[in-house]
């Protein structure tokens, strides 16, 4: 258990609670619709269109979160552009940050 200023974190208590919750869910599920059968009833309804080959129904990585990237396009335009992949740029960043930190330390002074 970890204690914090406003409470505590006890993973064992959390796990016991989660197991009890899962047992309750399992109990409710078992009391569900008995007439349900696997097969046609559980297949995706594709509005009468022929079913696509399996490989084509999988949503690929580049299609995920497109709205997020669209909304943050300006941010990504800048950040992706800054990642040039050129090692000279990496060193320029290094020198620039050292210079900034030296200036800060001098301006801030002692203790």
């Amino acid at each position: 258990m970890i204690e914090s200023p406003s409470g505590f974190w006890g993973p064992v208590a959390w796990i016991i609670t989660a197991v009890v919750a899962l047992l309750i869910v399992h109990f409710i599920r078992r009391r569900g619709e008995k007439a349900h059968k696997n097969g046609v009833q559980s297949e995706t309804f594709l509005m009468g269109n022929p079913r696509l080959p399996e490989g084509e129904t999988h949503i690929r990585a580049h299609n995920i979160y497109w709205g997020f990237f669209e909304a943050l396009r300006k941010y990504y335009d800048h950040t992706v552009t800054a990642h040039t992949g050129i090692i000279n740029d990496y060193i320029v960043w290094f020198i620039a940050v050292i210079a900034i930190v030296i200036i800060i330390l001098f301006v801030a002074g002692g203790i």
Binding site: M1, I2, S4, P5, S6, G7, W9, P11, V12, W14, I15, A18, P53, E54, G55, T57, H58, I59, R60, A61, H62, I64, Y65, F68, F69, L72, Y75, Y76, T79, V80, A82, H83, T84, G85, I87, D89, Y90, I91, W93, F94, V97, I98, V101, I102, I104, L105, F106, A108, G109, G110, I111
Partner: protein, 522 residues
């Protein structure tokens, strides 16, 4: 056993070094004997690390002076300052040692299958063991110049390991970038050491800490050391080499590179807390560390989410997670001069940051190994071309889920425990920082949902009809880290009280480190 413990710190460095040079000789006679030697030596080193950790928890800081009549005799007769090579292992050093021993053992076992089809395996294992030597040396040395030497050993072997698979062009680019960045960072470290040596005629960290004045050259040395180590740990905006290098390295090495970066973070903390300690402007340097941490967290995670190369995605997350550690320890540093704030939340923030170092090493190591298992079976790292692999690689999927839930900070996993400590304590320092940290955790979850969905879910793809589960040694390597995650998740209090809190105290209590060296001088 007592003799073994007395010499354990040097043995932990010497055994992998000696094994590194024995490996190619034995490898020429028998591959099986070489692999056995590798695993047995790393397992023995892990045993020594745990034995030393127990000794430190009972007897305090462990000192080992090379060449002295007695290992705790830090200065030769007639000298008032230590001049010999001295190893000084305290709570913080041994915490890093525990991480390094677990991850390097898991990575070595994983690599047995992962690089089984590659040529030059003798050289691979020699370099791996040299990297292990460099890492342990950096953690245990009490001497700034030796810190530089071990940094060089770890960096050079790391670069060669990144570029090991010469059949891929990107590995050469990754290795080249790593060595250039490492060389420049090491050069700055050496320059800073020179500045300090020129003024104080000392190289020992404890002796220097006692003498340091925070003069103008000291400030320049501090800036050079902080930023050089920040570059080596991949803090934004000095991070750009990280995805280029981590992504192309063999997976076992990627896991080790994560810890290698954390060793640089350890060196950064050692410089700030132990070398300069109360002499520096703690509030300013603390905020510099916090800002580096916040940038790393936010830009790291937002750069991770669009990635479609699974290891580049994980590399950006490694940067992002480093931000949490910098944030937690940075807050502790910023309030080091304020006893009330330190007691109320500063110490907790530091413990959270340090606990996150262990957790991150385990789950990011595991995630890189799962990515390596995928690469081993499908032959590429492109998430756009993966899918349905959970049907064929069930254990790898489970390991990925454990790592992903942990990195995203989902209860009851260990990532949540350390983030919980960081959120709560940092909130009292500045609520905005804590809110951003929580947002970053949400985006991390989104990113790993994407990676899991892309690689493991969906119908089995025809092109991966022949794919099988990862080989046994790779599963064992992943299993070691997964077991560590589960253990840390279920017993976080045990880890915090016995490993993390002593490490936090070691950083805060500069006097104990100084006395460890100077207390033994005549």
């Amino acid at each position: 056993m007592d003799t073994l413990i007395t010499h354990s710190s040097i043995l932990i460095i010497a055994i992998p070094l000696l094994t590194a040079f024995l490996t190619p000789l034995i490898g020429m006679a028998s591959k099986k004997a070489r692999n056995t030697l590798l695993i047995v030596s790393l397992a023995f080193v892990a045993f020594l690390v745990f034995a030393l950790a127990r000794d430190i928890s009972i007897n305090g800081i462990h000192i080992y002076t090379l060449g002295a009549a007695s290992p705790d005799l830090t200065a030769p007769k007639g000298f008032i300052v230590p001049v010999r090579i001295i190893l000084e292992v305290d709570g913080m050093s041994i915490l890093m040692g525990i991480i390094w021993s677990i991850v390097s053992l898991a990575a070595a076992i994983f690599s047995l299958s992962h690089i089984a089809s590659e040529t030059g395996q003798n050289r691979f294992y020699t370099l791996l063991l040299l990297m292990v030597t460099g890492g342990f040396g950096m953690m245990f040395t009490g001497d700034l110049f030796n810190l530089f030497v071990f940094l060089e050993i770890a960096s050079i072997s790391g670069a060669a390991l990144i570029a090991f698979r010469t059949k891929f062009a990107d590995t050469q680019e990754g290795g080249f970038k790593y060595i250039v960045v490492s060389a420049i960072a090491s050069l700055m470290v050496l320059f800073a050491i020179g500045l300090l040596y020129a003024q104080y005629n000392l190289l020992n960290i404890g002796a220097l800490a006692q003498a340091i004045q925070y003069t103008t050259p000291d400030k320049i040395a501090l800036a050079l050391l902080v930023i050089a180590f920040a570059m080596k740990l991949g803090a934004i905006p000095l991070h750009m080499w990280v995805p280029d290098s981590y992504a192309v390295a063999p997976a076992g090495i990627s896991a080790m590179l994560v810890v290698s970066s954390q060793v640089s973070m350890y060196a950064l903390f050692r410089v700030c807390f132990t070398l300069f300690g109360v002499t520096l402007n703690m509030y300013t340097v603390g905020w510099i560390v916090i800002i580096l941490g916040m940038l790393s967290m936010f830009i790291g995670v937002t750069m991770a989410i669009p990635q479609t190369d699974i290891k580049r995605l994980m590399s950006y997350h490694a940067i992002s997670q480093s931000g949490y550690m910098l944030l937690g320890v940075g807050v502790g540093l910023a309030v080091l001069g304020d006893p009330n704030a330190l007691a109320t939340y500063g110490r907790e923030a530091m413990s959270g940051g340090i606990f996150h170092i262990i957790n991150h090493a385990m789950y990011k190591g595991l995630l890189f190994l799962t990515a390596g298992a995928l690469f081993y079976r499908v032959g590429h790292r492109d998430l756009n071309r993966m899918g349905g692999l959970g049907h064929k690689m069930k254990l790898t999927s489970i390991f990925f889920i454990i790592g992903a839930l942990s990195i995203a900070g989902i209860p009851p996993f260990n990532g949540f425990a350390s983030k919980f400590m960081i959120y709560e304590s940092v909130y009292q320092f500045n609520p905005i920082l804590s809110a951003i940290a929580m947002l970053v955790s949400l985006i991390t979850l989104a990113s790993f949902v994407k990676a899991f969905q892309s690689a493991f879910t969906g119908p089995p793809l025809p092109e991966y009809k022949e794919v099988k589960e990862a080989p046994k040694s790779m599963l064992i390597g992943m299993g070691i880290l997964a077991a560590a995650i589960v253990f840390f998740s279920v017993f976080p209090g045990l880890i915090v009280h016995h490993i993390v809190d002593p490490a936090t105290n070691a950083l805060i209590n500069q006097g104990a480190y100084v006395n460890g060296i100077m207390g033994g001088t005549p």
